[in-house]
Every structure is written in structure tokens, then in C-alpha cells.
């Protein structure tokens, strides 16, 4: 099982998408042969996933929006996303390359 950390960048795989179901008045995650009904919190988290933001950055956004304690949100988000990875409706993007090479070994 993939370990998720705040640095992990989650993304929706091809063939999985988020949709607001107007008939049932609920957000759903659509995947081949499967549809997951999402509670408002889960839908909020998934709508932040764009394949660029890390889990940590998503938690930052949610912490401001919901004025909740960051550590609690982070644990909940990681827990929820791990469940979706296990069901193969969420992927982990390959780690982004370091944006800066520490050529001189002094941190600059």
C-alpha cells in the first residue's frame, strides 16, 4: 500500500472524474463500473486535487477555509485519500524533481 505524506501529490487517474449529480443532489466520483457518493468534505478535498498541489498544500487551503486545526485536517485528508488510492480511484503523481540543485553543498 502506498504511503501518503504531506509531500505526496495526488491526482485523479484517467477514467476517474468528479461530478455533481443533480438528480441525487450529491457529488459523485465516477470510475469504471463504479460510482462513489461523496460527502461534502470529501468532495471539497477532491475538488482541490489538480495533479500539481501536494496534500500539504491542499490541507493549507482547507485549514483556511474551514478554520479548523491543521493537524486534524491533515490526518483526516490523508486517511480519506489513502482509502481512495486503495480502491484505485486516486493515483500518486511521481515525486516532482527538486526545483533547485544544491550544487555548492551550502544550501543556496
Amino acid at each position: 500500500m502506498t504511503q501518503l505524506s504531506p509531500a505526496t501529490i495526488p491526482r485523479l487517474p484517467h477514467g476517474v472524474r468528479l461530478k455533481f449529480d443533480q438528480v441525487r443532489n450529491v457529488n459523485v466520483l465516477l470510475a469504471p463500473e463504479r460510482a462513489f457518493e461523496l460527502d461534502p468534505t470529501a468532495a471539497e478535498v477532491l475538488s482541490c486535487i489538480d495533479g500539481r498541489r501536494s496534500i500539504g498544500e491542499i490541507v493549507d487551503v482547507l485549514a483556511v477555509k474551514f478554520t479548523a486545526e491543521r493537524a486534524i485536517i491533515e490526518a483526516d485528508v490523508i486517511d480519506m485519500l489513502a482509502g481512495l488510492v486503495g480502491r484505485r480511484v486516486l493515483e500518486v503523481a511521481p515525486q516532482a524533481p527538486a526545483t533547485r540543485l544544491d550544487l555548492y553543498g551550502n544550501g543556496t
Binding site: M1, T2, P13, H14, G15, V16, R17, K19, D21, V23, R24, V28, L30, P32, E33, A35, G86, R88
Partner: protein, 373 residues
Amino acid sequence: MAMAPEHNPAPIGLLAELTHRCPLRCPYCSNPLALDRRSGELDTAAWTRVLSEAAALGVLHVHLSGGEPTARADIEEITAHCAHEGLYTNLITSGIGPAHAKLDGLVRAGLDHVQVSVQAADAGEADAIAGLGGAHEQKLTFARRVVAIGLPLTINAVIHRGNIRHVDRIIGLAVSLGAKRLEIAHTQYYGWALVNRAALMPSREDVDRSIATVEVARARLEGRLVIDLVVPDYYALYPKACAGGWGRRLINVTPSGQVLPCHAAQTIPGLEFWNVTDRSLAEIWSASPAFQAFRGTDWMPDPCRSCDRRERDWGGCRCQAFALAGDAAATDPACSLSPHHAMIQGLAAAEADAEPPAYAYRTMSRPTVADPA
């Protein structure tokens, strides 16, 4: 739009049987014995209207199926219309013939997912089952292109006596193709498969071994490949909730526009089906006599009526109850609580034990082989 009664949930999936035309002749084809001809198929305008009505009714997934759905000249247009309506599209294809040439257009149209059938892991064996030389190689080429394009791929393999000892190799094939999902679907005996039951029925030992093989592979491939297993009815303890329960989740529209609760429902005599050319999908879903016939639990006799599984398996399959017990309102004989259960287990064992007859391949004309049920 007609409002459905409160106890009547909105459908989730629509199986669009766009055409019965198919280059393959699989002896377990789920299409009816009396196939619709091209001249009787719904036109593009009818399909796009039906699909818009499906979206408004609450359908989330559309399974573009057949026959071979890419045999329709308007398959890209139909797919694009689904995407426009926000419907999730799943192309259920043989992967041969026109499927290759149309794949790029389907991707542009917004296709979400592709399911390709394979008949076996070995080309010779597979082509003998499909009744078409060279089919297997074409399928593999097509499946690889689907993955290369970046679309998610499901491989579907119908399991029977002719391939059940090679389930491990079918799993290996799905992994090597880069499929995300594999359906190991033991044959369901309706329509053509019922005609061919004696040729297709595996022994219980082979069934048990194949299920164990899948269990082991699931653990080994966790995170790489999802394997969905459809277990064989005749050796089961409890029946399957056919289509998730009659008229609860699924709508099936035939090439000529008949609306069915499941793809085999026309085998049940006396049911009145409505057609999309006469009525809206919403009206058909909520009020069609065929949909109402076995909806919910009120129609159930015992042992279903008093069973605590009645809202889990919904009495099993009505078509199988008719085919094997002669009464569509009987408990599915696949259930160990059915008085017919021992009879069908004995029947399966006897057929699996005997020399298999030759396949009656699917053709546009009805098979001449006597119905074994």
C-alpha cells in the same frame, strides 16, 4: 418528466446495445437468440434523445455495447453526446474490425473507459472460441493502443470449460497489457450460453481451482490490477442480485429501442416491454409493466419472501428462474434454498462430466440446436 414513486430509485447505469452486428460468433454471447437486424436499429437522433433522457433521469454510466458498438457509423457522435450530457462512457468492444480505425475519434469525443473482451490467453484457443481466425492478435493490438493513448482498460474474459484451466494465463495477459481491471466472469447461462451449456459447463473442481487462482492473484497484484470475479451460478450457495435487483439500478436498451430491466429479460414470456420510440425513458422506467413486474419484494414467493437476504440478492435472476424452474417468479434455482437447486447442481455435474458437444456459434439466424433447459 414523470416522477418515479418514492420507493423507486433513479437508475445508475444504462446498457446501450447499439447494434447486434458483431464480427465474432462467441457461443456464450449475451445477445438474444433472435438478433435485431440493421434495418431495425434506432437512428442517431433516437439514441441521442434517449441518452439525454437517461442523464436527466439520473443515469451516471453509459455502457456502449452491442454486438460490436463500433460497427455503428455514428459511434463517435453518440459518444460525444454522452460526454456533452456529463455521462460516463464505457465502450464494451471486441477490439477488432472498425474499433481500431475509430479509437482516435472516440478519444476526441470524450470516451472515458474501454473494456475489451478476450476469449483465452492463447491465440489458437481464443480464436476457436470467438469463431474468427486472427481475432486474438487484433484484440491485443487494440488493447495496447488503448493503454498507449492513456485510457483506462478493463479486460473481460468469460470463463467456461474451454479456458477455465488457463485463468492464471488470462490474468498474466491482463497484467502484460497494462489493464487496470480484469473481469473473470464465469459464464451466465442465458440465450446463446444456455443453448451451449453442455459445451461450456466446467466441473466443480475446475471452478474451485479457478476461484483459488483469482484469490491468490488478487493478493499478489494489489495496487496493480483490480480483479472482479463473477462466480458461476450453478455451483453457488446464494444467487446473484441480477443487475443489482430488477428495475433498481440498470436500464437496458436494445438496438431496436426495447427497454429491458436486464439484457435477457425478453426470454421471459408474457412481459410487456415498452419502446423508446413510443415513450420517454422516465415513463418507461417508472411505469413499464416489465419493470414493475419484479420490482422490490412484493412479488416474491417463499423462500425469498421470508428470507433475510431478500434485499441483498433480490431473489436472484428472473430469467434463470424461468429457464430452469419454468416460473419467472420462482426463487432462482442458483439459491441453495430453492427446491430446484439440487437438480441444477446434478445437471451441471452431469454436463461437465460428459464429452462436450460442438459449439453452436452465434449467428443472425436462430440456432437449430434444441434448448437444453
